[in-house]
Amino acid sequence: MKTRKLVNLRSFPLFSTVSYLTFFILYAPIALVIAYSFNVNRTAQIWTGFSTKWYLDVLTNDDIVKAVKNSLIVALPSTILATTLALAATLGLQRMGRKGNTISIILLGAPLIIPEIVLAVGSLCFFLFIGLPIGFIGLIVAHTAFCIPFAMLPIRARLVSLEASSFEAAADLGANEWNIFKRVTLPLLAPGVLAGALLAFAISFDDFITSFFVAGPGSTTLPVYIFGMIRSNVTPAINALSTMLLIGTGGILFASYSLNQDRKK
């Protein structure tokens, strides 16, 4: 059908060159970080030899391990909470009137539009005001809030792509609201919910500004810790840590990719 003109039709001048260039731009700095992580010299940019000692340094550093734990302690509950609330919101939004819809759009957009520094500082003042001791609870509360809109994006996209017929068929077959919800809506939305959860997790784990202002005793998260490292003690250990995070994240993504491929077969 279209194959006769396929190549011609789909290529534009310079687009492939720019694409290769852009991918290079995207990955060159990261490649550099990984490369320098093997530099034996304390000063990353002056290459004096190959070494894996910084990896050992990172793995045996109690503070880093603790920071990772803290990041997880915050990210996991935030993800679960945010995804649940996002799912509920996606579904319930259809039943809201015009006014409710407008208010909801504003509220959902707020964490995305409002600069994070403002939210961070505001959260700090808020917790101070109500006397909530800053720490994990505050962090989870704040993280959940800005994760909800992100979690909603894939869920909503998924809902939109579903055919009304599935639901109507179930209704026609005599299923009640709750059953339809349990056995049709949820399973169909599952991929979107999973995607939303992953997104929320990434956003929460990676968060810096809010965590910086709202972290309390013993709740320093990994990005805040790395920031402290960059501030004071710049060694290739930062590179090693970054590389490990990259591999971890990349691994998860590729796993989900291959899972997707399998399912497609």
Binding site: Q94, I114, I180, I209, F254
Partner: protein, 298 residues
């Protein structure tokens, strides 16, 4: 698909009211507090606020009492605000120019490669923005790769790129690329190439098809991308902090400083409110534009 039409299995509205309530609580109230603080005064000792109302913080954004006692128009913070626009704007344009080709190119690859390519674009986004900004810092360091390359090219030793506004813009661009590519790709993937085919059949050249058929069709993605890059860019903190050498200040850096060393929470709050109003303004602008386009299509 019309979401507003009620379908069975869609639960009731309380499912939405609870999350909205949560957001109103955790986002709305902090904003309210910040706005209130912006009208309060500094305490004599320590940090925080003193409950005395005054609009002076807003005045101080534009007017300063100089050392010789005169009051005058103060460019400092206006400069900072302008810089935020400039840096975010430049990075938005740059990412746009790079992202459109990439998005379209990926959309025109074979299906089995597309997912992988999207993954490759997304992967950096999943890494911490701290790490990515730090990567740019190491790259631009004149003692590192950049220095060696520029020496090689004969641009002299110690070619200084790091700790300049340019570095900040580069950092912003680099960290924003995935945010621009992905929405445009989403639009590009849905592009019906039969439209392009029709245009070619009618004798249009490549550039024509590009600008008059493709771009308008993917403009929703473009607008989404612009919104996702420019607006957060205005409120960006890390790029200027880590790459600007302390000489590049965007609004977020000044706010952070006022909640830190400068110990002026009311002023920091006033700037925050100002920043919020700015981002709100641009969001409305872009969403109005998008809505107009959507209506025009119908």
């Amino acid at each position: 698909m019309d979401l507003k039409r009620s379908r069975p299995g869609q639960t009731n509205r309380w499912f939405a009211i609870i999350p909205m309530g949560y957001l109103a609580f955790t986002v709305g109230i902090p904003l309210l507090i910040i706005t209130t603080y912006s009208f309060l005064s500094r305490p004599d000792l320590g940090v925080g606020v003193k409950w005395e109302f005054t609009p002076i913080s807003y005045v101080r954004i534009f007017v300063q009492e100089r050392l010789d006692g005169t009051k005058g128009f103060d460019v400092r913070y206006v400069k900072v605000i302008w810089n935020s626009f400039l840096y975010s704007g430049i990075s938005t344009v740059t990412t746009l120019v790079l992202a459109i080709p990439v998005a379209v190119w990926i959309a025109t690859r074979q299906a089995k490669y597309r997912y992988l390519l999207v993954l490759l674009v997304t992967l950096p986004f999943w890494t911490s923005i701290l790490i990515r900004t730090y990567a740019i810092r190491q790259l631009l360091d004149e003692k590192g790769v950049l220095g060696q390359v520029t020496s090689f090219l004969g641009l002299g030793d110690n070619f200084q790129l790091l700790y300049t506004p340019t570095a900040t813009v580069i950092g912003l661009t680099f960290t924003s690329l995935p945010f621009m590519i992905l929405p445009i790709y989403a639009s590009a993937e849905r592009f019906d190439f039969r439209l392009a085919e029709a245009a070619y059949d009618l004798g249009a050249k490549k550039w024509s098809v590009l600008f008059r058929v493709l771009l308008p069709q993917i403009s929703p993605g473009i607008f989404a991308g612009i919104a996702l890059v420019f607006i957060p860019g205005l409120g960006s903190f890390l790029a200027a902090d880590m790459l600007g050498g302390g000489k590049t200040n965007m609004i977020a850096n000044v706010v952070a400083n006022n909640f830190g060393q400068a110990r002026n929470w009311p002023f920091g709050s006033a700037l925050s409110v100002f920043l919020c109003l700015l981002t709100l303004f641009f969001t409305l602008l872009i969403s109005l534009k998008t809505r107009k386009k959507a209506e025009a299509k119908k």
